[in-house]
Symmetry: C2
Subunit: 322 residues, 2 copies
């Protein structure tokens, strides 16, 4: 490692994370649908993190960060900015440790996620929608509370925690050829890359991304981080851009980024509800949409798809209001 | 048995049914939610038949009837009347045996169920909404095709098949105090009664019924079958009345019938989607609604709730349009 370079999480970090968080998370099931496998011409296994505690994979990373804090660091509580699942996950983790949790959330965040975070006892601090407003607001919260900041994804503890999802998937599904996971900030994808590059380096890891928020796609092509400007996508969990830590892992280990249209995200979300009978949020549907849009890549292969979460506002479903 | 009395299904019939259908059904999982158990003050386990083949428990009874037919009886195919899941289940069973399937369905049946039955290759024959129109239509189909009639519930083969759900629940959940299942025609409830009365006679079996279609409740109070007149309930699977066979079992073995309001059905359906992250149809929510409305009956008990199915039209959800 060159001086000044950030420390990237390793397989050992993922294994330590798994030991730490295991008593507090669900080993979420794999599901499959003959209809969907036939549609893709592939053997698809869905890793159902919508059934995870607090409704999304984010609980893994949040728990790893929070449970790993020593007593002194934890005493002032934790803080973050999040439009949804990371805030909810951190609220859950803080409630387990009985420490304060402060979540800076844009005013337009999904009501379902906000209320669930409050249900775990978190304090929600509303901010404007821009990145600068959010950061200013978070700085104020940190200055006032001295809380420990846990970034939603650009944090080695969080990436190692999300990597436990890949570790579980590897243990549950023998003989995978590929794994496809949605990408926003890249915590899940980079954690999955670290896990599989050690456990089964032949398995190809693909990131699936909305065309309307395709910073990872453009970054991967350019070989450097290319920022999004106010992405607009129904997949609200994927509007955030990749950052330094996740980018370094993705650049080195990812097979490719596959982009999908908004329409195909909504179609895939609906078909998952209809066929798997599970409630998933739009971001979760992006990976299936990518597999269905790139059947040539996956034909006759055994493909793991990570369903990232199920926290959706049932009063505003995209096939009614989108 | 007195002469002329119908033959009721026994535990042996359920065990034979299980052996027959086991390769073709899912052993559906149990799920739980700390939130919902806390809300009920009970330890609730949900038996998730929404994940069953063809999306509902009905597949058990339909498969038992269809797979049990000898070649000659099966050669003309099968027929039934059904507004939904039984028709779909029978279509699935017929597709496995590669025999014709004719389903008489009211014109106002859920589009999702109709399309799914057609997807399995069934012929749908539309009829008017009244019982007499339906029966006239079915008689014509039977006369024309010589198909074997498989009644949705008033059929010992079907009741024994549904009883396999109770058998599985017993094997999956140790130490149950009570089981609550929705009641329409009573196939599931009577099959569950037969299974538990043999396997664990101390377990109390409750039927949950919409107030707006409370023929089972009134029959149980009166000690004889009291018919409904055009019941109107969001729980479309529960509009049918109990009949001779199911009534005889229910009368002898059921603990009680609990009725619930339409509003509580919709609320329970929504809370199941939100908390368990699973897609269930309105009929499925009736049992949870009954437990939440009668917490005094279930406090501190271990309660199995049968989630009956997940075939719902996502374009017409009751909390948007009801």
């Amino acid at each position: 490692m060159r001086k000044g370079e950030p420390v990237l999480p390793t397989m050992d970090d993922i294994l330590s994370a798994y030991e730490r968080i295991c008593p507090y998370i669900h080993r979420t099931p794999l599901m499959s649908s003959k209809f969907l496998s036939d549609a893709a011409g592939a053997d698809i296994l869905f890793k159902c993190e919508n059934f995870q505690k607090a409704g999304a994979f984010k609980t893994r990373g949040a728990l790893n960060a929070v449970l790993g804090l020593d007593r002194s660091a934890a005493s002032n509580g934790i803080a973050t900015h999040s439009s949804g699942n990371h805030g909810l996950a951190l609220a859950y983790a803080a409630s387990l440790r009985k420490i304060p949790c402060h979540v800076v959330m844009p005013r337009d965040a999904t009501a379902a996620k906000r209320h669930a975070a409050e249900g775990y006892g978190a304090e929600i601090i509303e901010c404007g929608p821009s990145a600068s407003e959010r950061e200013k607001c978070l700085d104020m919260v940190l200055a006032k509370t001295k809380a420990e900041f846990v970034h939603p994804f650009n944090d080695a503890r969080v990436i190692a925690g999300q990597g436990t999802c890949g570790l579980e998937l590897f243990n549950q599904a023998a003989g995978l050829d590929a794994v496809v996971a949605p990408i926003g900030g890249g915590g899940l994808v980079s954690g999955t890359c670290v896990a599989f590059s050690e456990l089964a380096p032949c398995v190809e890891i693909y990131a699936a991304e909305p065309k309307n928020a395709d910073d990872a796609f453009r970054s991967f092509r350019a070989g450097r981080i290319v920022a999004d400007h106010s992405p607009r996508t129904i997949a609200d969990g994927l509007r955030v851009p990749i950052k330094e830590l996740t980018w370094r892992i993705i650049k080195a280990k990812l097979s490719d980024v596959l982009t999908v249209s908004e329409e195909s995200i909504v179609d895939s979300m609906k078909i998952i509800w209809q066929r798997l009978k599970i409630v998933v949020e739009p971001s979760s549907a992006v990976a299936l949409a990518a597999v269905l849009a790139h059947t040539e890549l996956f034909r006759n292969k055994r493909v793991g798809i990570i369903i990232t979460g199920g926290n959706v506002d049932l009063d505003f479903l995209p096939w009614k209001d989108g």
